[in-house]
């Protein structure tokens, strides 16, 4: 599977944030997006997820079922956790599993997967607690656990480590490593180094800075 971005141009409020970006990402690769605030990390991730429309350029996922939309290949974890405060941890996760996953799996296999995800993020003791009572870091882990309950090849993560402690960040990094080793693709915007075994880096916004410097020097 290969994610191919060609000459991508994305504008927001009339300002071109991403200009002529091209890159390729093959199965088994993780790409970290870095760059200062406003460099376009979130914009790029939201464009890949299909929320934002590109002005020009193409995004294609080769090797993905032609009949299905690209968005069905993607997991998106953004700044918000997408949990419901009045549902328990288990109910939240079970809903996302049923909604995002494929119904053909047997119920027992799905349940196993659910508990495995809770276990991996170390929130299984909290399974019956309404998500509204969780701490910020626990809510974040519940939001991330969505990645594991429904199998999707492309993970789009926007600042996934926000409000995670060092231990949970390590957990997340190991899970990203495992996903990549299993042939998945990960695009993650981050300020902090995640400590992944194998990852590329794409610095966004350098050209913007260069243009600003050019203006400053008369």
């Amino acid at each position: 599977m290969q994610l191919q971005i060609r000459d991508l141009v994305v504008a927001r409020a009339g300002r071109r944030i991403i200009e002529g970006l091209s890159f390729e990402l093959t199965s088994g690769e993780a790409l970290l997006l870095t760059g200062r605030n406003g460099a376009g990390k979130t914009t790029l991730i939201r464009t890949l997820a299909g929320y934002l429309e590109a002005q020009s350029g193409t995004i294609a996922l080769h090797g993905w079922d032609r009949d299905r939309d690209l968005r069905e290949a993607c997991h998106y974890v953004g700044h918000l956790d997408s949990n419901k405060a009045s549902l328990t941890v288990l109910e939240n996760l079970r809903f996302w599993q049923a909604y995002l996953g494929h119904a053909e799996q047997a119920a027992a296999a799905r349940d196993d997967r659910l508990w495995l995800a809770l276990d991996k993020f170390e929130i299984d003791p909290l399974a019956d607690i309404p998500a509204g009572y969780l701490s910020a870091g626990q809510k974040r882990r519940l939001g991330l656990a969505r990645l594991l309950v429904a199998e999707r090849p492309v993970w789009l993560l926007d600042e996934p480590t926000v409000s995670l402690d060092a231990r949970s960040t390590g957990l997340l990094a190991r899970l990203i490593d495992a996903h990549v080793a299993g042939g998945g693709l990960v695009v993650a915007a981050t300020h902090l180094p995640l400590g992944l075994i194998k990852s590329g880096e794409l610095r966004l916004g350098d050209e913007v800075k260069a243009a600003a410097a050019g203006r400053a020097a008369p």
Binding site: A49, G50, Y76, L80, K84, A98, Y99
Partner: protein
């Protein structure tokens, strides 16, 4: 289709767990209807004549109060973004949420109307008519309201704007709902035509409402 039912089930569960929305709508309905006889005086004939109209108008206003909740919670906690990534098209996501609104708000309001009818000295033979027209008409309220709810999603305190946008679209539902009741009270065969048009309005809005709402939601994601 399983995604549709999964989402519907979750929204209904949330409506039960966070019962505030329904409580507010029912309470508002009760108070508005109670105020009418107090304002109009104890003329029972007058009240009987205008009872269906009061019940309908108050129902529209009560339903209007709960409309912002169709998309607001999912937008605020980021769920809407994730819902857009499912196999379910965004149009059906909007349809499912509007349908959940109808079940959790429209039906309870319609069923409460006859109880409030007692306060207005509603004619005995008008009771089944009020329930029937309201059950047939309230889907239009939820599905047209979903358009307004989606459009005003990012406007803080958009409640009034929502009312301005949506209430004009409720006029046909109101007119044919009232006409069905009053014509049935005058002649037995007069009911059918208005009732069928009322049902048609609901069916059309169930098809078109989600398409428009989904377009507005896509715009908000930009």
């Amino acid at each position: 289709m399983s995604g549709f039912l999964t989402l519907l089930k979750r929204d209904l569960l949330l409506a039960v767990r966070e019962g505030g929305a329904l409580g507010t709508a029912l309470g508002f309905y009760l108070i508005v209807v109670t105020l009418m006889p107090l304002g109009l005086g104890p003329d029972l004939n007058l009240l009987t004549r205008i009872a269906p109209g009061i019940l309908w108008v108050a129902l529209l206003l009560a339903a209007l109060l709960s409309l912002p909740r169709i998309f607001e919670a999912d937008h605020d906690d980021g769920s809407l973004d994730v819902l857009a990534l499912g196999a379910l098209p965004l149009e059906l996501v909007a349809a499912s949420k509007a349908f959940a609104h109808w079940i959790s708000t429209g039906i309870p309001l319609a069923l409460m109307a006859p109880i409030l009818g007692i306060l207005l000295n509603l004619e005995a033979r008008a009771y089944p008519l009020v329930i029937a027209t309201m059950l047939a008409g309230t889907p239009a309220i939820s599905f047209l309201g979903a358009i307004g709810a989606a459009l005003t999603l990012k406007t803080r305190r958009g409640g009034l704007l929502l009312a301005l946008l949506v209430l004009p679209f409720y006029v046909p539902t109101l007119i044919f709902g009232i006409t069905a009741i009053s014509s049935a009270l005058m002649s037995p065969q007069g009911f059918q035509a208005s009732f069928l048009i009322l049902s048609a309005i609901s069916l059309v809005s169930m098809v078109l409402g989600p398409v428009a709402a989904a377009a507005a939601l896509r715009q908000h994601m930009q």
